[in-house]
């Protein structure tokens, strides 16, 4: 019984998606997961009794609706609920809110700058143009621009057509957008520092760059290109935490007969005669399969669970040079009650959304300088959520759970590796900063989980704790992701594939890489393509 048609290594959301499609196509599929639980970085864990921590990824927008629908994830228990709101608090006691009503949002901007209230329209329209351009590529395999195979040429033609459809001026603007820094990009629209800082966060999350670094405008797009029920750019909560996504995907996988083994770390992908034969688990157990799909990042896949002698030198070199920079940490906090932010008016709905405390580029850039100097930001960019304001399932009634994503936290520190003391100090920096705005915050804390890149790597297996499984820089996007020549989900060994965020279209809980990889595998097996197509124009 130790033989399968395909083995997927890692039960992250992409591994699960990939396995689900392979199983749905009729293959006998096994997914092996090192942790005793599934989900990878889409997990919900009860780390303090009564509290569910959505302890890695914490909000959802990128999950492709095509996959959601196609795999019947609703039937398998998934609900994604928009939360609305969001606010950036300033130390002077003011704030910039992101109201879900257009007029309220506009007035809120006008409260700071009438010019920027108008400019927000232009900004949104322009970003939406780029979103509309990029979305059809999420469920497609990138063309190899150096290849002359008909399929690559036809994909290149599709790309050319989409570019042409932008129109000449928009095409230039799009190229500019792709190459600019988020600060430069926002400077072309807005005059108010607070407005610019509030909008720039999406250009930085998960990225080891500052607002002045070229390439960060694209990162913003990466965070805007998802949608909730057609509202492009909107974010929501998976009810019960991001683990619900993994659970629903696992349900889909099992419905189609796929098997999941947890607590089964893979030691190596077995290769014989330049073909994959299966995997060997750390305990020595061998499992056979002609197809092995890795949901791990490219560095881990090629440098830890493959034998270097099975790989071309070029791949080893590319894997070593693969940029997967640690830049973020996470705090998950159980709260005894609702934290107060007295600078917000009573009854204001903004707290339900993402909360921020950085109010200008300089703070953000200095946070990045700290990172470059090998320490965590002294005034960190945080992306906070209190999901229990929207989702009552995550804490006992009246109690709250707080998820704090912390940007610019290095994987290794200038003065050596992470230690428990340093981890605590990092957590304290974040808590102190937030307490500046919330007088009762510290008193409400019942339990805190502090995760530096070190913990994220150790637990989830993301190298350096990089949430995208590889930097979202130009040299690692589209046909360069993860490496030039290996961007179509196939590994260098026959029968070996990659399906993680380390491949196109990159990080975020989109499930697109897993789906795209399944499409390629099925094509190689000569099986019918059962992966969904893009919904098209929206």
């Amino acid at each position: 019984m130790n033989s399968y048609d395909a083995i997927v290594i890692g039960a992250g959301h992409n591994g699960l998606t990939n396995a689900a499609y392979l199983a749905k196509s009729g293959l006998k599929v096994l997914i092996v997961e090192r942790n005793p639980y599934i989900g990878g970085a889409s997990v919900s864990r009860e780390l303090h009794e009564g509290w569910i921590y959505t302890n890695c990824s914490y909000v959802s927008s990128l999950l492709r609706p095509e996959i959601y629908r196609d795999l019947n994830l609703a039937k398998h228990g998934l609900q994604v609920v928009p939360f609305g709101g969001g606010v950036t608090l300033t130390q002077s006691g003011d704030y910039l809110g992101s109201y879900s009503n257009d007029e309220a949002r506009r007035r809120e901007y006008a409260r700071h700058s009438l010019h920027d209230a108008d400019a927000l329209d232009r900004f949104s329209t322009d970003v939406m143009r780029y979103c509309r351009f990029i979305r059809p590529f999420l469920l497609r395999t990138p063309a190899d621009p150096t290849s002359f195979r008909p399929r690559d040429l036809s994909e290149l033609f599709f790309l050319g057509k989409k570019l042409y459809e932008l129109g000449e001026e928009e095409l230039y603007e799009f190229i500019r957008f792709f190459t600019m820094s988020i600060a430069e990009f926002l400077d072309e629209y807005f005059e108010c520092e607070l407005v610019k800082a509030a909008l720039s966060g999406s250009g930085l999350i998960g990225t080891a760059l500052g607002p002045y670094s070229p390439g960060t405008a694209y990162v913003l797009l990466h965070h805007y290109m998802g949608d909730i029920d057609g509202n492009v750019g909107e974010w929501g909560l998976a009810r019960g935490g991001m683990g619900s996504i993994a659970k629903a995907l696992a349900g889909a996988l099992q419905e189609h007969g796929g098997e999941i083994r947890t607590g089964a770390p893979v030691a190596q992908i077995r290769v014989r005669n330049a073909r994959t034969k299966g995997v060997v688990l750390e305990g020595g157990e061998e499992i056979d399969a002609p197809i092995v799909v890795s949901n791990l990042d490219a560095k881990r896949t090629f440098l830890t669970i493959m034998d270097p002698k099975d790989l071309p030198d070029e791949v080893l070199e590319r894997a070593r040079n693969f940029k997967i920079t640690g830049s973020s940490g996470k705090l998950n906090i159980a709260l005894d009650g609702r934290p107060e932010f007295p600078q917000l008016p009573a009854g204001c709905p903004l707290l339900k959304g993402d909360l921020h405390i950085t109010e200008n580029f300089e703070q953000l850039e200095r946070g990045y300088d700290d990172w470059k100097n090998g320490t965590w930001s002294k005034w960190p960019y945080v992306d906070m959520m209190i999901p229990t304001l929207t989702d009552p399932t995550m804490a006992p009634p009246g109690k709250h759970m707080m998820s704090i994503f912390v940007q610019h936290c290095p994987a290794t520190l200038a003065d050596g590796g992470w230690t428990p003391d340093k981890r605590e100090a990092f957590g304290q920096t974040v808590i102190d900063a937030i307490a500046t705005f919330s007088p009762n915050f510290k008193d409400l804390i019942l339990h805190t989980e502090i995760r530096t890149p070190h913990e994220i790597e150790a637990e989830v297996g993301l190298t350096a704790g990089n949430i995208f499984q590889g930097d979202l820089s130009f040299d690692q996007l589209m046909f360069n992701r993860p490496f030039p020549g290996y961007a179509q989900y196939r590994g260098p060994v026959k029968g070996m594939y990659m399906c993680g965020s380390t491949t196109h279209p990159g990080g975020g809980v989109s499930a697109a890489p897993g789906t795209n990889a399944a499409r390629e595998i099925l094509a190689d097996l000569g099986r019918k393509n059962i992966t969904p197509e893009d919904f098209g124009d929206d």
């Binding site: 621009p145 150096t146 290849s147 570019l163 042409y164 129109g167 000449e168 001026e169 095409l171 230039y172 190229i175 500019r176 190459t179 600019m180 430069e184 400077d187 072309e188 760059l209 002045y212 670094s213 070229p214 390439g215 040079n321 940029k323 300089e362 850039e365 200095r366 300088d369 470059k372 820089s473 130009f474 040299d475 046909f479 360069n480 490496f483 030039p484 020549g485």
Partner: protein, 518 residues
């Protein structure tokens, strides 16, 4: 006045002169109008103290296009490149300097493996640079709506890269072209001194630091501009290069008038028909070419109101805020640099001890401060060219970064302390430096803007960033040397392919104009 001239060129910078020479050579009646009292723009030799002369901005010549030298016969007009290529010496405080030559490195205990890696790296980068190089002397294509010839040029570029490089190298090219130099150098080298020195090449004259994506492209750009990798100190300073260009232009029949600042471009029915000088004098011609930077050209000489609003807005958004200063010093005698022979002082001395050093220097400039420990490119041109200083004495010329145009508190209040930092940093490498130097002149970006009319004091007339290059330089709608104003053209560094004493923009502008009508 009648249409005495076919074309008026605003500004006698090196590109204006190159453009003038080509057009005059083609039989056009050309008049060049220069605001200062000598031609050359920023590429002049400047007597900053009696008897002491130095190149005012760029001081090393390495990108002047061979085709331009040949076509305009510049050697016959007095161009003297001043001898063989100089070396780059990356200074180390302990005197253990790293010498970087065209194909080799030595010193600083670099290993044999590192030397081999350097040779391989340069070969790899030069191949990529060669794929770019042909584009430097061409008008950039438009991306759509521009006809067959344009589409052919675009296809040809792709084709050239694919076949010029081959599949594997093209993959490499497409990967690294968007990367930062910081990571790329890390992939290849061990020596931090070498990484620092090469990182400096990628950011010299720009508002970038080595970790910024796009810095591999600027590095390749520098290589593409000077494919032979020769660095020379032109005899008599950079002014001699523009003097040769001016001589060539006038020999071909162009006229150059100095001390005639152009007030504005004369427009009639939306078309450029001449210029109005500061005194009110009107000069007319069939076309007007501006060697001034794009912001000056469009916002001052033409005026935003005479442009369409979106275009004017884009010009207003161009990033052209310089962060490079130039420091000139009189040396009573040559200082004693730790670990350097006196005859080595004629080389290019750089202060960029590591990538982090460059990055730290840059960080200050993000917040409107000058670098606490600036990076520098230093030359003492009088070592090889005694004509630049009285006998026995010397001049030092240093490009110093980062010195932001909009310094917090203003330059008037902080220039002296900045110069002190520069002297301190040099003194770390030459302990007796303070005793040897006397007079100092410091040109901050504010001074450079005032002296040479370059907006923001930016040497390249606009940042060499990915979004301001090639078919987007200075911005789309005017990236093919034509402007939205009929009869008005660009020929300066604000146009493709940008700054550095290359002459390419002037050459390309002339070709584009000759290809059209007068």
């Amino acid at each position: 006045m009648t249409d005495r001239y076919d074309v008026l060129i605003i500004g006698a910078g090196h590109n204006g002169l190159v453009c003038a020479a080509y057009l005059a050579k083609a039989g056009w009646k050309v008049l060049v109008l220069e605001r200062s009292d000598q031609p050359g723009g920023a590429a002049i030799t400047r007597e900053f103290a009696p008897g002491f002369r130095v190149s005012a901005c760029a001081h090393i010549l390495h990108m002047l296009q061979a085709k331009v030298i040949r076509d305009l016969n510049l050697k016959a007009h007095g161009l003297d490149l001043g001898g063989p290529s100089i070396d780059t010496i990356a200074l180390a405080e302990d005197g253990n300097h790293l010498t970087i030559r065209q194909r080799s490195i030595e010193g600083a205990q670099v290993t044999a493996a590192e030397k081999a890696a350097y040779a391989a790296f340069i070969e790899r980068m030069e191949r990529h640079a060669k794929a770019l190089a042909p584009q430097l002397l061409k008008t950039p294509p438009r991306l759509a709506n521009a006809g067959l010839a344009n589409a052919m040029q675009l296809a040809g570029m792709g084709w050239g890269i694919r076949f010029g490089l081959g599949k594997k190298r093209m993959q490499d090219f497409l990967r690294i072209v968007g990367m930062n130099i910081y990571d790329l150098l890390d992939e290849v080298f061990e020596s931090e001194a070498l990484k620092g020195a090469l990182a400096l090449d990628a950011v010299l004259g720009s508002a970038m630091e080595p970790r910024m994506p796009g810095t591999v492209l600027t590095y390749l750009y520098r290589l593409a501009g000077g494919l032979k990798s020769t660095l020379t100190l032109p005899k008599g300073g950079m002014g001699s290069v523009t003097a040769a260009l001016a001589d060539a232009a006038t020999t071909f029949g162009a006229e150059i008038r100095t001390a005639v600042p152009v007030e504005r471009v004369l427009l009639e029915g939306g078309r450029a028909v001449g210029v109005v000088l500061a005194g009110g004098e009107e000069l007319r011609a069939l076309s007007v070419i501006s060697n001034a930077d794009p912001k000056t050209t469009f916002l001052k000489l033409v005026g935003a109101r005479n442009l369409e609003a979106g275009f004017a807005h884009r010009i207003g958004n161009l990033r052209a805020s310089g962060r490079t200063a130039k420091v000139h010093m009189v040396l009573n005698s040559l200082p004693d640099f730790t670990g350097l022979e006196q005859d080595a002082l004629g080389n290019r001395l750089i202060v960029a001890a590591s990538r982090k050093y460059v990055e730290d220097a840059f960080n200050h400039s993000k917040y409107g401060e000058y670098s606490d420990q600036p990076v520098m490119e230093i030359t003492i041109p009088s070592v090889a060219d005694p004509s630049l200083a009285p006998a026995g004495k010397h001049v030092l010329s240093a490009i110093v970064q980062y010195a932001p145009f909009d310094l917090k508190g203003g330059w008037d209040a902080h220039k002296d302390s900045f110069v002190e930092r520069v002297v301190d940093v040099i003194s770390a490498y030459a302990p007796d430096f303070r005793d040897k130097m006397t007079l100092v002149e410091c040109l901050t970006p504010v001074d450079i803007e005032r002296e040479f009319g370059m907006t923001g004091g930016h040497w390249h007339h606009g940042e060499l960033a990915l979004d301001q290059l090639f078919m987007m330089r200075p911005t789309y709608g005017t990236a093919q040397y034509r402007t939205p104003i009929d009869g008005l053209y660009l020929c300066g560094a604000g146009a493709h392919p940008g700054g550095g004493v290359m002459g390419a923009a002037g050459h390309n502008a002339a070709q584009a104009i000759l290809a059209g009508d007068k």
